[in-house]
Symmetry: C2
Subunit: 274 residues, 2 copies
Amino acid sequence: MFLRSMKNPIGIFDSGLGGLTGYRALRKLLPGRTLLYFGDTARVPYGTRSREVIRRYSTQDANFLLSHGVCAILVACGTASSNALDLLEQTFSVPFVGVVAPAAEQAARVAENGNGRVLVLGTSATVATGAYERAIHAIDPKIQVRSAACPLFVPLVENGHTQKGDVAATAIAEEYLLPHADFRPDAVLLGCTHYPLLSEVLSAVLPGPVLISAGEASAKAMASLAAASLPPSDGSASDAFYTSDDPALFRREAARFLGAPPDAPVFHVDIEKY
Amino acid sequence: MFLRSMKNPIGIFDSGLGGLTGYRALRKLLPGRTLLYFGDTARVPYGTRSREVIRRYSTQDANFLLSHGVCAILVACGTASSNALDLLEQTFSVPFVGVVAPAAEQAARVAENGNGRVLVLGTSATVATGAYERAIHAIDPKIQVRSAACPLFVPLVENGHTQKGDVAATAIAEEYLLPHADFRPDAVLLGCTHYPLLSEVLSAVLPGPVLISAGEASAKAMASLAAASLPPSDGSASDAFYTSDDPALFRREAARFLGAPPDAPVFHVDIEKY
C-alpha cells in the first residue's frame, strides 16, 4: 500500500513477451509513471488454451500486479482481453484497459474512411470469442468483419521467424491470409500483441491494408485514462519486469520486442501462488 | 491405495499430447495392464522453458499420477526426461522409465551397424542438457553425435502441419536439418515424442537415415520392466486420460496422435494443486 500511495504504478500483463509492444508504447506516452510488467512466460501461450484456463491464469496475473500496488491494469494480451476482461472487472476494483475496444475503434475509423472492411487476426481462443467483431459492430454495424485464427504466429515470433522473406513465416501467413485476399480489407487488426513483429511479412503477403497494433492502441487508451482519472504519479518512472520463468531468459528475449534489452530489473514470480 | 493394490496401473505423462505416441506403443505391448495418461495441456510446451520450471512441472505431474496409485511411471516427454528424471528418481520411490536411455540405445545400435553417426533432434531445453549425447557415448564413445534444437516442431505438430509437402513444416525442417546433411547420419533420433508425426516431412528433407521414435523406444523399455519386476496387473486394462486443460479439447486433439479418438474417459486435473 506504501508503493501504491507513493507512486500509483500502472500494471501491464501478457501471456509472455508480446505485451511488451504495449509496454513500449505506454512507456513513451507516460514518461513520469512507473510501469510494472508481468509476462507469464512459464505458461505462455494462452491462445490455444480453453476459456476457463485463460480466465484462471488472467485472474492470477492481475492479482499479482495488485499485490504490488498498481492503480490500473493494461491487459496487453488479445487472448486475455477477449476471454477474461469481464471477469477481471467484476473481481477487482481498479480500472482495466484491454486491447479489444481500443483496437476495434482504430480499425472502425480506418474502415469508415475506406470500403468498410476489417480483417481481424488473432489466436484461436481470441477468434472463438468473436470479441473484436462485436466491438467493431458496436461502433458501426455496417462494417464488414472477417476473422482468421493464426495459431502459429506466436510460436513463430517467439522463435525469431519475423524477417521479411522468412520462408516458414511467409508460408504460414499465406495460409492464414490469402483466403481473405478477395475480401480486400481496409484494415488488418493485429489482435494479438505478438503480431506487430510480423508486420513486414504480413504486408508482403497482403499488401495494401493498414495494420493496426492492438498493443499500441491499448497503450493510447491507457494514457487517456491516466490523464483523465488515475491518481497522480510521483513524476518519476522506476519500472520493473516480472516473469514466471527465468529472468535471464526474459531479459534475453525481451530485447526483440523492445528494440534493446530491458532498462529495468527483471524478477521471478511464482505465479501459481496468486 | 485400493486402486494400486488391485490393478497396479502404469502412469505416463507428457507436457501435452506427444506422449501419446508412447502410450499407443505401450498399449499394444501390455494389453492386460491399465495405463493412466496425464497430458499437461494447460502448460504445454515444456521445451522452451527453463530447467527449474521443467523440474517443478514434472514433479507435479508425477505426484498426480502417484496419487492415483501407479506402480511405475513412463516419462514420455523428451524435455522432462532430459531435465528432470534424476530429480523424479530421487523424490519418489516407484521406478521411472524416461525416453533418453532407450532411444539412445536404439540409435547406438543403428550407428554401430553403419558409419557411426547419430543426429539428435530435440526441443531447445532437451538439446541444452546434452542428455542424449551423453547416453549414446555411455554406450559407445566412438559414435559421433550432433544435436539440433527444433523449437517450432511441437507447435507445428499441435497445429496439424504434419503432411508430407507442407510448405511451412518443410521450410522449418530444412532450416533445422540441412546444416547437418553433410554429416550423413545413420540414425536421426527423434528426441521429442511429438516428432514422429513429422516423419514424412523429415524423410523428404533428409532421406536415408533411420528415424528413431523416443516414445516407442521408451514403451519397449517399460514393457521389459513390467515383465521383469513390476507387481502383476489384474489382466484387464481400464485406461484413463487426464488433462490440465479442457477434456473436450484433449479428446479432439488426441485423435491425431492415436489414429482414432481416445477409447477411454478423459478427466480434468487441477495440476497446480499437486
